[in-house]
Structure formats: structure tokens, C-alpha cells
Symmetry: C2
Subunit: 220 residues, 2 copies
């Protein structure tokens, strides 16, 4: 489904070379549920962005469904992501001028789904994450944990084959986090491949397999 | 140091009335270390914003050092906050165009501290939260957990008598969170009063006392 082959991601900042990801290879197959753990700054977000093709590696290759992403055009990559990949960003990136409902509908509209169906599906997704009472609120009119849940609902908008979630429970209390894990497990049982980067040990243990990142490398 | 007397905070959103905080009274004295826990959406951030006088209650009163904040002018409130209150926001609110060092120096500059001293103190604070190697990076050039730590360092810029921290470990792994707790305990032993809103049970248990919020009210 998605594969990274010896990927590196470097940043040059004035004199310094920062190696955020230093030669990582991994494969995610259909039905997989992988949790990536590791200290703050170890490269988890960078790796997730490479897997989701929202960032390009300095060297190495990323394959989406067998195709090398570098041979795809920007438009093809965007189309692939829209239809098959759901991304929950660590910073959420919700649109502040749109309501929760509109934020979740947006990828559906981009994928060409009819208005009535978008509204129904968006409502169902938001209700599923406990936000049925906050549909018409904008991101600035809800709590941090509520915003996080809108971001999760939006990632699921087009029923992706692959869900990439960066710290999806960072703002949630124990009981709401447990509900998020149950949602992920249920999606995974229905066929969604899931990769989460997380500090939440409950969530990591609820995945099918775990991988530890330290200083940009996978610890064996 | 700070006192809330029967404070309420309501929002009107189209037809709905949302009671984020429904009649809360509490006192924070010098040397206090209070952890406020509760489900996502229960009113923790709202309460912290009221205590820090960055938001006004719909009814009830907030007293800072014995003075009712509503009788202070905006300038007096801002001055009081600058000199005595450190706020770590759930959304950090770092300035994206400034480096980590400049972000931490900013409140010091506003308080009139000389350039050389600002730089020294900001360096020391960032080193203390493990970011000695990221001084010249901008918020967009570091990880989520690193941004969170810059926000904590900035809140401590003017050695506040009162630290109000909203989810200060939400993006941190276990070991970095433990370091954050140690920092807070050490500040508290040196006289800083601390109120944290948190989902991190380790942090909550490391405080001197805990309070649970549910639906805008304190659970006895
Ligand atoms: N634009 C950038 N320029 C330079 N360095 C960067 C940039 N973005 C990230 N980094 C560095 O790359 C490393 C990995 O960052 P990344 O965001 O992947 O970490 P993370 O594991 O997600 O951390 P956290 O758990 O705190 O979210 C960090 O040391 C960070 O400072
Ligand atoms: N501007 C607003 N307009 C309407 N309702 C709001 C607004 N801001 C917050 N709320 C609501 O007030 C309630 C309390 O929000 P608050 O941010 O204080 O919760 P919280 O306990 O900090 O949650 P979390 O743990 O998710 O950060 C929530 O139900 C939220 O939807
Ligand atoms: Mg990250
Ligand atoms: Mg909050």
C-alpha cells in the first residue's frame, strides 16, 4: 500500500545539517495497524509526511500502491491522496472560517460527492467522534480536544484505504482516547490500514505492531 | 494570588447557549500547585483563560492579588500579566517569523530587560527544556513537542509568580513529560504558584492538589 525504501530527509539551516530521517525502510500493507513511537524530535512527523507524500525525501524512494511518487505529477499525487489517504496532522490544519461540518465535507466536495450525501456522511463521522452537538461551530469555538476530533473525522471523509494519524490523542483525556482507539480498531477490522505516530502508550499497544524511532532511525 | 468567585462563562452561538464554565469558585495561593483534570470540552481552557484574565467571565469575579480585574484598565491588566503571570496556551501561539530564542525574549523585551540579559536568560530557559540545539530555529522548523517546550520557556520569561499551563505535555513522550514535571516541581519549590490543565495523569499526580472539572463545574 505504501512503502519507504531507505528514505532520508535532511534540512539545511544556516550552517547546520539536520538529519530528521536517516535511512528508513518500511512497508505498510492493507489491513496493517502500525504505531510509531519515539521521543519528541525523533522524526515521527517527518516520516508520516513522507509516507503521505506531502513531503519529498532528500534521497530514497516512496511507493504508493507500487508507483514511485517521484514519477507522479503533483496532480496525480494529490488525486491519489484525496481518494486513498486520510491525514491527521499534528497541527490539525482546520480551516478557521468553516464550521466543523464544512471542514469535514471539504474533501468530499473535492472528490465530487453530492451535497446531500456529504452532509449525511460528515454528520455521521462527527457524531461518531462525539461532536454531534458541535456541527455548526468553527474551530475557534470548540475545545482543543474537540478540534483534534474534527481533524480525525475529516481524515476519514473519503473512506481512505490508508489513515496516517500524527498524535491523534494528544489533546484527549483517558476515556476519549480509549474511544479513539476503539474507532481505529474498528476501522482497521473493516480493512483500513492505519499508521499512527503517538506518545499514547495505550494507543500504541492497541495497534497490531509497534516501531520505535530514535534520532531518525528505527530501533531494532 | 488569584481567586475566582462564582464565575460563569457562556457563549451564544446562533440559537444555542453554551455554558462552558458554570459557577466556579477557587483560590490559588503562593506556593500552590494545582492540577485541573476533566474530559475534553469540560471547561479547563476556559477556566485557565479566566484565571489569567485573558478572558472575562459572563458573571462572577476574578481577583488578581486582591484586585478585581474588572476595575483594572486593559493596560493595568496587561502589565500585571507581563510581570506576574506566565501563560502556556493549548495552541502555543508562538510567532512564526521569530526564532525560538526571539520568541522567549519577547516578553522580556516588553518588560524592559536589557538585550544581553534577555539573550542569556532565554538561552538558559530553552536549554533547560532541552532545546539548546534549536535556538535559531523558527516554530515551523521544529517538532510539535519542541514547539510546546518553547511555549513553556516563553511563559517563564519574566519569572512569573503564577504559571498557568494548558496541556503543557500533550505533545511529549513519557520521558520528556517526566522532565517537564520535574521542572514544574522545582519551580514550585522555589515559590512559583502553578495551575496546570492536563490529561497527563503523571503530571496531575505530581501536583500538590487536584481538581476535576465536568461540564463546567467542579466535581466534589
Ligand atoms: N523545517 C525544519 N528545519 C530544520 N529542522 C527541522 C524542520 N522540521 C523539523 N526539524 C527537525 O527534525 C527533527 C524531527 O522532527 P519531527 O517533527 O519529525 O519530530 P517528531 O518525532 O514528530 O517530534 P514530536 O514528538 O515532538 O512531534 C527535529 O529535531 C526537528 O527539530
Ligand atoms: N467561542 C466558543 N463558542 C462556543 N462554545 C465554545 C467556545 N469556546 C469553547 N466553547 C465550548 O466550551 C466548552 C469548554 O471548552 P474548553 O476549551 O474550556 O474545554 P477543555 O476542557 O479545555 O477541553 P480540551 O480538554 O478538549 O482542551 C466546550 O464544550 C466548547 O465546545
Ligand atoms: Mg511530531
Ligand atoms: Mg483545553
Amino acid at each position: 500500500l505504501v512503502e519507504a525504501r531507505d528514505v532520508r530527509r535532511e534540512y539545511r539551516l544556516k550552517g547546520d545539517l539536520i538529519e530528521a530521517v536517516r535511512g528508513i525502510s518500511l512497508e505498510v500493507s492493507a489491513g496493517d495497524f502500525l504505531a510509531i513511537v519515539g521521543p519528541s524530535g525523533s522524526g515521527k512527523s517527518t516520516l508520516l509526511h513522507l509516507l503521505g507524500a506531502v513531503d519529498s525525501p532528500t534521497s530514497g524512494a516512496i511507493y504508493l500502491d507500487g508507483s514511485d511518487v517521484t514519477v507522479m505529477t503533483d496532480a496525480e499525487r494529490a488525486r491519489f491522496r484525496l481518494e486513498h489517504v486520510g491525514l491527521v496532522f499534528q497541527r490539525f490544519h482546520l480551516l478557521p472560517m468553516l464550521t466543523a461540518l464544512e471542514n469535514v465535507e471539504l474533501p468530499m466536495a473535492e472528490a465530487g460527492l453530492a451535497r446531500k450525501e456529504r452532509e449525511q456522511r460528515a454528520k455521521a463521522l462527527l457524531t461518531r467522534v462525539g461532536l454531534g452537538e458541535r456541527l455548526r461551530h468553527r474551530p475557534g469555538e470548540i475545545s482543543g480536544g474537540q478540534r483534534q476530533r474534527v481533524a480525525v473525522a475529516r481524515a476519514l471523509a473519503n473512506r481512505p484505504a490508508l489513515l496516517l494519524a500524527d498524535e491523534p490523542t494528544g489533546e484527549l483525556d483517558q476515556s476519549t482516547s480509549a474511544e479513539m482507539l476503539e474507532l481505529f480498531q474498528s476501522l482497521n477490522e473493516d480493512g483500513t490500514a492505519i499508521v499512527v505516530a503517538t506518545h499514547d502508550l495505550q494507543l500504541a499497544e492497541g495497534a497490531r505492531r509497534q516501531m520505535t524511532l530514535v534520532d531518525g532511525k528505527i530501533r531494532e
